[in-house]
Amino acid sequence: MTTIPVSNGTSNSGSSGRSNGTPAPAAPRAVFDWFSAVAALGVVGIYIRAIYFTPIERLQGAAQKIYYLHVPAALAAYIAISITALMSIVYLWLHDERADRLAEAGAEVGLVFLTVVLTSGPLWGHRIWGAWWAWWDMRLTLTLFLWFIVAAYLIVRGGVEEAAMRGRYSAVLAILAALLIPFIHLSVYLFQARLHPMPVVLKPGEPSLPPEMLTTFLLAFAAFALLCIAFIRARYRVGLLRDLAAELAA
């Protein structure tokens, strides 16, 4: 994913589609992607720190270590999905295909991180709550529906062939989804507020987190944010190359 072997703009000299003399859009240069490498190393470093150099939580035991994956992954998912929503608005406004490509990259990376959140959450829940899934946990439920929406978004993208139409459809969908999320939040809240008291989730005192844990947490946030941006960059480049290839084939 880090190196992309494409010669820069020279392969299209004989292509009939470019006979009018317009320059080909610049293909990404085949360089070693330092950004991805740093992000990957950061994540490795975080887990070494989380596993060997961070104390074990007294009540939850080793299961609490899932936090260092679960919570930063959620943060990364929100970053990625926010980029999609933002870029969708930009696309409808300016019709810039770069915005559409970024939105696409954000959604796909967001789906990956949401999947991490949704698999690590039940693993922890099974150990600590004694149940794989808890519908009354608003964040878990909301994340699940978010996953479905992002999946639908990507399916729509795959189902429309014409680029401009694909851009408009997916931008409209992303903006409507941004409007939908508060409603899902409200209705889940109403649902659980009537059936259960507010869930008393074991939260090892957020303000009084031991300093080693807090540092690991903050570093994990930073590493995942970097990883998220590295993924989006890489996915953006894949989109760019795909569009370039389509243009050359035309």
Binding site: L92, F145, F148, I149, A151, A152, I155, V156, G159, V160, E161, A164, M165, R168, Y169, A171, V172, L173, I175, L176, A177, L179, L180, F183, I184, L186, S187, V188, L190, F191, R194
Partner: protein, 231 residues
């Protein structure tokens, strides 16, 4: 075009709704299949619980909303599907009416279509699940009204999008159902409370969410609709 005024948004929307309903009234294929589906599903769901464990009246609200959501999808599917055959959509696009009017007209047509199904499905539910006819059922009618407006608001837009994709019919449920989540959740709860004879004050929070959803998505989808058409 000479000598004829171009109709205003409301008049144009009404024309489109009338056209759709006239087609539906003459063929009746979509309506009958959606109706039979709804009543059939009501009957089948009756047997999916043991009635000695869960009394039929207790599961009626859940059954009602699952059935209304899926029979609604059948109706919405057809909305823009009918325009595809002879590229009727092109005629609509070149006609001197605004694109918003096309959306509103289609939405009105869908609303009538869904109401017609519900007009049969809800009494059928009351009969099959032994629910009391009367005030609770009227109150449920009100909840259904609010929920259907929301379902139609997003469903009409997604129906227009779905016909232009390679996936066509497969896409509509996948797109629509996540957007139906808040509607179905709140409407089913409100229905449960009404059937349980709870005071209206307990039902009101659910209704507020439904009303807000209707307003937000009617406006948003009307504005978004022109983007889903070919330029």
């Amino acid at each position: 075009m000479t000598g004829r005024r171009t109709p205003g948004v409301v008049a144009a929307a009404w024309l489109i709704a009338r056209k759709d309903l006239a087609i539906e009234f003459r063929t009746r294929t979509a309506f009958l299949s959606a109706l039979v589906f709804a009543v059939l599903a009501l009957c089948i769901f009756y047997f999916t619980w043991d009635q000695s464990v869960v009394p039929p009246a207790d599961r009626a609200p859940g059954v009602l909303w699952v059935v209304l959501a899926f029979s609604g999808l059948l109706g919405l599917q057809r909305s823009f599907g009918v325009e595809e055959h002879d590229r009727g959509i092109d005629a609509l696009l070149v006609s001197p009416i605004s694109r918003e009017a096309i959306y509103v007209g289609k939405a009105i047509g869908n609303l009538v279509f869904l109401f017609a199904i519900q007009l049969v499905a809800i009494p059928a539910l009351a009969i099959f699940y032994n629910l009391p006819f009367g005030r609770p059922l009227l109150a449920v009618g009100g909840i259904v009204l609010l929920a259907t407006i929301g379902i139609v608001a997003v469903g009409t837009l997604f129906s227009a999008m779905a016909v232009n994709t390679r996936l066509a019919e497969l896409l509509l449920p996948m797109l629509s159902l996540p957007f139906f989540v808040p509607i179905l959740m709140t409407a089913a709860q409100a229905t449960t409370l009404v059937f349980a004879g709870r005071p209206p004050a307990e039902v009101w929070p659910s209704l507020k969410i439904l009303i807000a959803f209707d307003i937000v998505f009617l406006v948003a989808c009307t504005l978004a609709f022109p983007y889903t058409l070919e330029e």
